[in-house]
Symmetry: C2
Subunit: 788 residues, 2 copies
C-alpha cells in the first residue's frame, strides 16, 4: 500500500456511501424496525438510589388496557441460566464482583435501575402500566460521592457489600521519590472532572423476535439493537438464554450515534430478548431521553491528586499521585477507564519516573463506562494542567515546556515502561509530536497573541490562548473479522460485525476494499454490525479502521489474488499480465481482452462434475481476521483561543486549531468529521455538560434544559491540520481517530481561560468550567483567597 | 482414519439423529412452513401436449373469491432479467437450446406445462380460479415417441424448432469392427426401458417470502423449497431476480424424499419467488400428486440397439450399438443421463472395444432428469442382458461368463479408456468385483438352485434365478463445503448446503465430525440445506458422503488441531499430551486436568485488548471445501430368485441378495436403509412402474391406481452383504451408496424371469415386465414366434 505512488480511492475525499440514504429519510434506525405483531416494552425503574425491595404487586398493572404481562427478575429467572450479566474483563485488581442483574434482584442501587418490564400492545399502554406497578421499597443509606465512599463508616453501595472499593491498582516506573527529592520545582494540584453522558441523538433500543419461520434444527432469536457491540450482545444472550452460537442473531440497524455508552451490553437488552423468547412474540423497547439520563452509562467522574517534579529547565523528572475513579453502582464494562486514565498521563512526554495509585470506587449512581476518550481526556487534563503550572514555576512559555519534553521523532518507535491491559508493551509507533505542535502554533501565531489580547481588552474582554497535547492509544486488538466476496452479479460484498455508529464505517471499508478490487466504489456493498458471519468485538476504542480495516485489506487482497489467478486461467495468460479494473480483470494495456467480475464469480464456484478452473478453493471470497495486538498511537495538539467576560464569567471559544496525526487517512473527509464532532464533544466536557446528583444520589439534570449540550451557537470554526505518519503496525499505515478529537479540548480550553485570567492568577482545576465557576475564581482571586 | 484400529462413532450402527423428530411428528416439511400472511398459489397447466397460446383471459378468475392476482409470463417478464431458466451444463454435443420458460411463453410443449400462476388467500380458492382461467389454445402436431421424433417429416416438438435432435455424441475405444469380425459369437438385441417417475412421498413445493424485517443495506428474499439443490435454486433466483448472492437465502426443510427429480430447478420455484417479490407477500405452492405426474421430471425412457462380440471362452471382445434417449420437451438438467448411460455399459468388465452413438431426442412430454441411478440402471440392463445372451451362445453358466470378464482386484486402480463429463479419466478406484459376486452366489447357493426349481415346479410355478453386476460412479465433484464450529456452549455445529432428503445426511456428517471431536454424537448439531454460508451443489449422484463427508472430515480435523493447540496453551502442556474426549480436551491418562469445549470456544474468540491465547486465528471454526474431481466407484452384485405363474404371468420375487462394496461405511444402518429402499425402487422399475402416454402424448397414468408403485406386499426380504474396499480418493475411504441399490435390479429380475421361462426360450428385452408381457412372451414362444 505505502509503496504505491498513487491510489485509486484509498485516501481520497470521496462522498460517504451511507449519506444518500441517511439524508433522504431512508435510514433505518432501531425504532424503524417494526415486525408484524410487535409488542411494546416499558421498564419500571427505581426512584431510589438505594433501597431493598420488599414486594412487587403487579395486579393493578396487569388489569390495564393492552397489557400482556409484567415480568420481574423472579419471572425471568427460570428462563435464564443466570441472574446477572457477566461482562467485565478479568483482572487481578478486582476486589468486588458487582455484575448487573437482568432486573433488580431484591435491591436497587441507583436511581433508574430497571425493576420490571411491562409488555403491552403500545408503548403508552406499557408506560401507563409501569406507573401502576406497586413496589414496596425499604430505603437504604446512599453513597453519592466517590470520596465519601471510602471514608470509614461509609454505608455500602450494595446492602451486603463488604466495602465500596471495587479495585485498586497502579502504575509505576523509575524512581519517583528520587525525582521529587532532586527536583528544582515541584507543582501539584487536585483535579476533578465531573460526570457527564455521551448523549447520542438516538438513545438505546432493542427489538427481539423469535424466528418467524423456524427450522426444525434451529430456533433462532433475531435481535436488533442500537449497540456498538452486536457480537458482545450475542455472546451474553447465548449464555443467558442457553443457546448455540447460531441460535441468536444480532443485527445493528443505523445508529444515531454511539460514543461509548452503546458498547455496554445492558440489562434491558437481555430482558427484552428473554421476554420475546418466553412469550414467542416480537418485543420492542426504545429508550426515551429521561431514561437515557438515568440508565445509560456515564463517565468522567474522577478526582486526581497529582504532583509533577521538573528540573531547572523544566524537564519532567517525575509525576506521582492518586486517582479516585467513580465506577457507579455496577460493573458495566470493567476497569478500562481507570486503566486508560492511568497509563495515558505520561504518554506524550519523556517522563523520568511515574507512580500512581488508582482506586475504583462504587457509588449509588448509574454505572460508568467508556465515553469517547475513555478516561484519556481526564488524563490529558491533569497532565497538561500540571505542565502549565510547571511552566509558570520554571518561568518559561507553556509551549516551550512542552517542546522540551515531548517525545521526539528520532525516538520512534518509542517503548514506554508501561503495559497494555492485555500484557503487551506500550510502544508509541510513529509520529513527530513536536512538529505537529509547531504546525498548530504556527497557524495560530502563538507568538503574536499579545496584540490580539490587547484588542479584546479594549472591548472589556479578557482574551486567552491555551494549548494541549495528547497521545491516544487506538485500534485496540486483537481483531475484527471482515469477509469480502464477489457476487455472481459482479458486485463486491463486504461483511463485518464491526458496528457503524454513523462514523462512516461502510465508506471506510468500501474504500479499502475497492482500492484492491478495481477502484469502483459503486460496486461495493458493505454490511456492518451483523453477527451472522463475522467474529470480533465491535466499535469502540477508535479501533475499527485499524482492525477491521486491516482485515478488509487482507481479505480484498486474497480475493484479488484469486481473481487474477482465475482470470489468468480463463484468458490463458499469466496473472502478472492482468490488471483489476472496475468490474473486470483485463490484459494490461489491451483494452478488449477481459473477463468480468460476474463471470469470474460464476466460474469460481465451478460446475458439478467439472474441475475448478485453475483455482484450488471455490468461490471468490475471503474472511480475514488480522490479529493486531499492539496499539497505534494517534497524537495531536489543540490550541484554543477564548474570550472571557469577567463580569458574567462566560467563556467564548473564538478559534480552535487542531493539528493531529492519525497515520494514513482512508478518507480525510471522514477524519475531519470525526475531529469536528469530537471538538464539539470536548467543548461540552470543558464548559457545559455536568450530570449533577444530590447527596442522596438523586440525579438533578435529567433534561436538556438542565444538562447543557453544545449547540452550533457555541461552536467555533475548527481549523484542522493533518500530518500523516503511517503506522508501521498494519499494512495500511492507519491509526484510529474517532475519539482523539475530544482528548485535549478541556486542558486547551482551561489553559486559555487561565491565560485570559492571568492577572488573577487563576488555575482551573475542575471541569466543566461554568460561568459561575469563572466568576467564583475571579472573586476568590480578588479577595486574595482561592475558590472552593 | 484408515490407520486407526478402532473408531469412536465412525462406522458404527448408531441411531439416526433425525429420527426422533421425524417419528414423533416434529418433522418440518415444506407444507409445515406457514409464514404469517402467507398466500397460496396454484398453477394453470396445459391440457395439450403441444399448442400455441392465442390469448389468456383472466377476467373471470380475477373476480373469484379470495383471488389476489393472476400472472402470466408477460406479467412476470418486467420483473425478471430473462424469460428462461438456463440450467444445462455446457457441452459441444448440444445442437438445440430448449431452456424452460418461467411460464409458458406463447406455446406449450407438454401436458402439465405451467401457463399462469394464480394467487389467492387459500389453495382451494387458487385452484378454483385456475380452472376459471380461459386460455385460447391452437393445438399443434405432437411427437410422443423418441423414435418417431427423428423420422423424416416428423413434426417439431417446438413450433419453431429446426428438428428434434437435441444432441448427438458417443463413446468409443478399441477397434470395434475388428472385435466383431474376429468374434466367435455375437449377440444383439433391442432393449427398451420405459418411462417412470421417482414419486417421493412428498412432492415438490416452495415458499417465498420477502424479509419480514429488511435492513437498509439488504433486501433479502427468503425461500424454502423441497429441493435437493438449494444452492442451484439460489443461483437461478439471484440471476433471474437480479439480486446479489446474499440477496436470496434458500433453505430446505425436511424433505419427504428426493430421488433425483428434486435436483432440478423448476419454473414453479422461480414463478413463486418472483410473485412473492413483486407483491411483497409470502407465497406458498405445494405440488399435488396429479401435478407430480405431469410436471415433475421423469426418466428411463430409452431405446437401445446393441450387440456384443465374445470369443470362444466368452471373453468380451467388443460392444457396439446406438442409444436413443427421450429428453422430453425441455432441458431440465443437461445431457447427464444419456452420458451416464453411455459410459456405464462397459464399466464392470474388461471390454476390448466399445462404440456407441447416442441421440438425445425431444418429445412433447415432461422433461427427463436423473432419477436414482441416472441412466446407469438402463446401461446395466443392456449390458447384463447381453451377457446372459452371450453365456447362452457360448454355452456357459451366466455366473461363469461374468467371472471371466469382471475387472479383477489386481487391476485396481483400473483406468478405463473413457472420460468423465468434466474431462477427467474414469478410473475404477478400488474393489474386488469377483469376490463380491462370489459372496452373493455363495449366499444363494447358486449351484444348488436346481433342487429349488424342482420344488416350485411341483406347485405349478416356474422358478428362476438371475444375477447382475453393477459399478456406479459416485461422489461427483468438485466439492461441497462444510463448516464446523465449536459453540461457546460447548456444542459442535456443522453447517452445509448439502441437502438432506431423508437419507441420513445429518447423522452421516455428525458421525464424521464427532469422530474427530470426542466421539459424543449428542453434542453435534448439523444444519443441512442452507445456502447462507456454504458453497456447493447439493444432493445427487450419490455424492454427499464423499464430497460433504470429506469436507466435514477436513474441517473437523482443523478444528480439532486448533482445540489441541489452544488447550495446550491453557493447560500449559504440549498438544501431543492431550486427547479430545466428549466435551473436553484432557491430559492423556490424567482424568482431572482438562478444559471444556465451552471454555475453549470462549477463549478462542479472545477478549478486547488481549492477545489470542496461543492460536493465530480466532474461533474454533473451519469451513472446508475439499475438491475431489475423480469419482469413487461402488460395485456390487444382485441375485434375484423368482417364481412365475405361467397362467397369469405374475412374477413373485422370493429372495433378493445384494452384495456390495461402497468402501468404508460411515454407518452400516444408513447403508442398509439406502440399499433396501433402492431395491424397492428397482423392483418398481423392473416389474411395475410405467408412465404411459398415448400417441398425442397425453399421459395415461396420473394416479397411483394406474401407475403401480411397489408396496410392502411385493417386497422380498433383502439379504445385504457388505464388503469394504476403502476408496483411495478421500481420507475417509468412503464411496456413495444412495443410488447403487437400484442399478442391477431390473437385469437381475429379467435374468431370473428368463431362467424361470427357460423352457420357452424367452429373453426379456423391455422393462417393466408386466404380467401381460410375461404372458405374451409365453404365448409367443408357444406359437414359435417372438413377442412384439
Amino acid at each position: 500500500m505505502s509503496n504505491e505512488a498513487e491510489t485509486k480511492v484509498f485516501g481520497r475525499r470521496v462522498r460517504r456511501l451511507e449519506d444518500r440514504a441517511l439524508v433522504t429519510g431512508k435510514g433505518r434506525y432501531l425504532d424503524d424496525i417494526q415486525p408484524a405483531g410487535c409488542l411494546a416494552a416499558a421498564f419500571v425503574r427505581s426512584p431510589h438510589a438505594h433501597a431493598a425491595i420488599q414486594s412487587i404487586d403487579a395486579s393493578e398493572a396487569l388489569e390495564m388496557p393492552g397489557v400482556r404481562g409484567v415480568y420481574t427478575m423472579e419471572d425471568l429467572a427460570p428462563f435464564l441460566t443466570g441472574r446477572r450479566l457477566v461482562v467485565g474483563l478479568p483482572s487481578a485488581a478486582i476486589r468486588l464482583q458487582v455484575d448487573r442483574p437482568v432486573l433488580a434482584d431484591g435491591e436497587v442501587v441507583h436511581v433508574g435501575e430497571p425493576i420490571a418490564i411491562v409488555i403491552a400492545d403500545t408503548r403508552s399502554q406499557a408506560e401507563d402500566a409501569a406507573e401502576a406497578l406497586f413496589v414496596d421499597f425499604d430505603p437504604l443509606p446512599v453513597v453519592s460521592d466517590c470520596r465519601d465512599a471510602l471514608r470509614d463508616g461509609a454505608p455500602t453501595v450494595h446492602r451486603d457489600g463488604p466495602h465500596n472499593c471495587l479495585a485498586t491498582f497502579g502504575f509505576s516506573f523509575g524512581d519517583v521519590d528520587a525525582a521529587f527529592s532532586t527536583a528544582t520545582h515541584t507543582v501539584s494540584g487536585t483535579y476533578e472532572v465531573h460526570r457527564g453522558g455521551a448523549h447520542s441523538i438516538e438513545g438505546r433500543g432493542v427489538v427481539a423476535m423469535p424466528d418467524p419461520v423456524p427450522d426444525r434444527s434451529t430456533d433462532r432469536l433475531l435481535v436488533w439493537s442500537s449497540t456498538q457491540t452486536p457480537l458482545a450482545l450475542k455472546k451474553v444472550l447465548c449464555q443467558l438464554l442457553d443457546r448455540d452460537d447460531d441460535g441468536v442473531r444480532v443485527h445493528t440497524p443505523d445508529l444515531g450515534g454511539g460514543f461509548g455508552p452503546k458498547l455496554v451490553t445492558y440489562p434491558e437488552e437481555v430482558a427484552v430478548a428473554a421476554v420475546a423468547s418466553m412469550i414467542a412474540r416480537p418485543v420492542k423497547w426504545v429508550e426515551d431521553r429521561q431514561e437515557h439520563f438515568v440508565a445509560t452509562a456515564q463517565e468522567r467522574d474522577q478526582v486526581w491528586d497529582m504532583a509533577m517534579a521538573v528540573d531547572a529547565e523544566g524537564r519532567i523528572l517525575g509525576i506521582r499521585g492518586t486517582l479516585l475513579h467513580d465506577h457507579g453502582a455496577y460493573t458495566a464494562r470493567g476497569l478500562n477507564i481507570a486503566y486508560g486514565s492511568g497509563v495515558t498521563v505520561p504518554l506524550p512526554y519523556n517522563v523520568g519516573a511515574y507512580g500512581i495509585d488508582i482506586s475504583v470506587v462504587l457509588t449509588n449512581k448509574v454505572p460508568t463506562a467508556p465515553i469517547r476518550g475513555a478516561g484519556q481526556p481526564q488524563a490529558a487534563f491533569v497532565m497538561e494542567r500540571l505542565l502549565d503550572k510547571a511552566a509558570a514555576a520554571v518561568g518559561i512559555d507553556r509551549a516551550e515546556i512542552r517542546r522540551r519534553n515531548l517525545v521526539r521523532a528520532d525516538q520512534m518507535p518509542c517503548e514506554k515502561p508501561l503495559k497494555l491491559r492485555g500484557g503487551g508493551n506500550i510502544v508509541l509507533d510513529s509520529g513527530d509530536y513536536p512538529a505537529t505542535m509547531e504546525s498548530a502554533l504556527k497557524r495560530v501565531d502563538w507568538d503574536g497573541f499579545a496584540a490580539r489580547r490587547q484588542a479584546s481588552r479594549e472591548k472589556g474582554l479578557l482574551r486567552g490562548i491555551g494549548l494541549a497535547n495528547y497521545v491516544e492509544g487506538t485500534g485496540r486488538g486483537p481483531y475484527e473479522s471482515v469477509k469480502v466476496e464477489i457476487s455472481r452479479n459482479g458486485r463486491i460484498q463486504a461483511t463485518t460485525g464491526a458496528a457503524a455508529m454513523g462514523q462512516g464505517t461502510e465508506t471506510m471499508i468500501a474504500q479499502i476494499v475497492a482500492e484492491q478490487l478495481g477502484g469502483e466504489l459503486s460496486l461495493v456493498s458493505v454490511r456492518t454490525g451483523d453477527t451472522d458471519n463475522p467474529l470480533g468485538f465491535g466499535g469502540f476504542n477508535s479501533r475499527q479502521t485499524v482492525v477491521a480495516g486491516a482485515s478488509a485489506h487482507a481479505a480484498a487482497i486474497k480475493v484479488r489474488d484469486s481473481m487474477l489467478k482465475l482470470a489468468g486461467h480463463l484468458l490463458e495468460t499469466s496473472p502478472d499480465d492482468l490488471e483489476v479494473l472496475p468490474g473486470r480483470v483485463a490484459l494490461k494495456g489491451v483494452g478488449d481482452r477481459h473477463v468480468t467480475f460476474a463471470d469470474l464469480a460464476s466460474a469460481s464456484l465451478g460446475l458439478p462434475g467439472y474441475p475448478l478452473p485453475g483455482i484450488e478453493t471455490p468461490g471468490l471470497s475471503a474472511r480475514e481476521s488480522v490479529v493486531i495486538n499492539d496499539m497505534a498511537y494517534t497524537n495531536g495538539t489543540a490550541v484554543a483561543e477564548v474570550e472571557v467576560d469577567p463580569d458574567t464569567g462566560s467563556v467564548e471559544v473564538l478559534d480552535f486549531t487542531f493539528a493531529h496525526d492519525c497515520g494514513r487517512m482512508v478518507n480525510p473527509d471522514l477524519v475531519d468529521g470525526q475531529i469536528v464532532g469530537a471538538v464539539a464533544h470536548g467543548l461540552g466536557n470543558a464548559l457545559f455538560e455536568h450530570m449533577l446528583f444530590d447527596q442522596e444520589a438523586q440525579p438533578l439534570t435529567t433534561t436538556f434544559a438542565d444538562y447543557l449540550m453544545v449547540t452550533a451557537a457555541e461552536m467555533p470554526t475548527v481549523e484542522i491540520l493533518h500530518t500523516e505518519s503511517p503506522s508501521p503496525l498494519n499494512a495500511l499505515g492507519v491509526k484510529g481517530v474517532g475519539e482523539s478529537g475530544v482528548i485535549p479540548i478541556t486542558p486547551a480550553v482551561a489553559s486559555a481561560i487561565d491565560d485570559a485570567l492571568s492577572e488573577f492568577g487563576v488555575h482551573i482545576a475542575r471541569a466543566p468550567v461554568s460561568p459561575q465557576a469563572v466568576r467564583a475564581e475571579i472573586l476568590q482571586a480578588q479577595s486574595g483567597g482561592q475558590a472552593s
